[in-house]
Amino acid sequence: MQQPQRRIVYLIALLAGFAWIFASADRSGVSTSGKIPAPQQGFLAPDFELETTTGESVKLSDLRGQAVLVNLWATWCPPCRAEMQSIEKVYREYKDEGFTILAVNMTRQDDALAVMPFVQEQGLTFPILLDESGEVANAYQLQSLPSSYFIRRDGVINEVVIGGPMSEALLRTRIEDILK
């Protein structure tokens, strides 16, 4: 292609690109998917209601206004066990600032009898929920354990961390983000 023709092609490409930016602008806000529940960053956290190990019922949407960490775990999962002490530590540090943790045990794929001894052995003080039917595992499309969902005060997932163990620094940076 000769130079003048090439320059015209470049100019047309740039003008078309410029027009496309405006033509494809998203004025309805559909690209911010906060209204649809899905287990992904930017979406509304799927709601659930489960019983704790002490028999109380906890519903995620009732915690709207608080920053929440939903941690999916099992007693047979070594990284889940390894991160519990760090989670307990940050829970104690931040709970008075409007932060809470829902540690959902994947009871359907765990030994229900092993949960309470583990909780007592570790001295965990945050709510431990039992997902006996697999409802939360399904809603959160669970692929790996542990899986952690950092949820903002408005109920939208701010970040998903798959795998572990999570370090204290990771927990603190993410918790401070969702408390803002």
């Binding site: 090439r6 559909v30 690209s31 287990p39 992904q40 999570m166």
Partner: protein, 242 residues
């Protein structure tokens, strides 16, 4: 098929795809490096030093920007958590390390970038596959028959669009004529990648919006496209004058 792929490479296994792309990209770049007058060894070292800078820089700068948190738990500096990382700072450090190594070894700037182009093109393919596996960079909702079910809606298969574009760009780069002026391969790759992003970003469901709905990635891609075309013209003019 997509479901099987996504369950096979569900996070954190999606990173395997990036590592594989890194390895294949390096092998292909080495294969073509002699054509650009850059030795395989120099290219290897450049990539390894830059990678080292990427990893170290990303973690250290992240720790610096969250200094008060890392002071409370300094051992977290050595944590295996990949999320304790600043990817943009990492890229800047990798670029600086590459620049310093290249100038110390007196590597010709445009020839080296041309030699690295297959590496970048394969990385783009690996990135789109890892996006598909992790469900990130997802599309906006659609009623079109080729929409895929993702995050509780039928969506544009934005990751597949991205993969197709990356494959076509790689093909264009790999099978193009070898007698083009220095910098042409890299600038063609940059222009095509920017043009693809400019077009395909419109189908994404996770765009960062600015100025009342404009997509930030499209604005940046347009600037990159304009810069690549301008640089390409300048290099042609210089080559012609010589």
């Amino acid at each position: 098929m997509i479901t099987l792929f996504r369950s096979l490479f569900a996070p954190p296994r999606h990173l395997i795809l990036l590592v594989a792309a890194l390895w294949i990209g390096l092998a292909l770049a080495e294969k073509r490096s002699e054509r650009q007058g850059v030795s395989k060894e120099a290219l290897n070292n450049l990539i390894y030093y830059s990678l080292f800078g990427y990893i170290l820089g990303g973690r250290l700068l992240y720790a610096l920007s969250n200094f008060s948190i890392f002071v409370q738990s300094p051992r977290s500096l050595f944590s295996l958590n990949l999320d304790l990382f600043d990817p943009l700072a990492a890229l800047a450090v990798a670029f600086l390390v590459g620049l310093v190594y290249g100038s110390r070894q007196k590597l010709a700037f445009w020839h080296t970038l041309d030699a690295l182009t297959p590496f970048f093109a394969i990385l783009a393919i690996g990135l789109s596959l890892s996006h598909l596996a992790a469900g990130t960079a997802f599309g906006s909702p659609t009623n079109l028959p080729w929409g895929i079910e993702m995050w509780n809606a039928a969506r544009h298969p934005a990751q597949l669009y991205e993969l197709l574009a990356a494959l076509l760009i790689f093909g264009w780069i790999w099978f193009r004529k070898a007698d083009s002026p220095p910098g042409a391969a890299f600038l063609t790759f940059t222009a095509l990648t920017a043009a693809a992003r400019l077009f395909l970003e419109a189908f994404r469901g996770d765009s960062i919006l600015v100025f009342g709905g404009l997509r930030l990635a499209q604005i940046l891609a347009w600037i990159a496209l304009a810069a690549a075309l301008f640089a390409s013209e300048s290099l042609r003019r210089v080559a012609k004058a010589n």
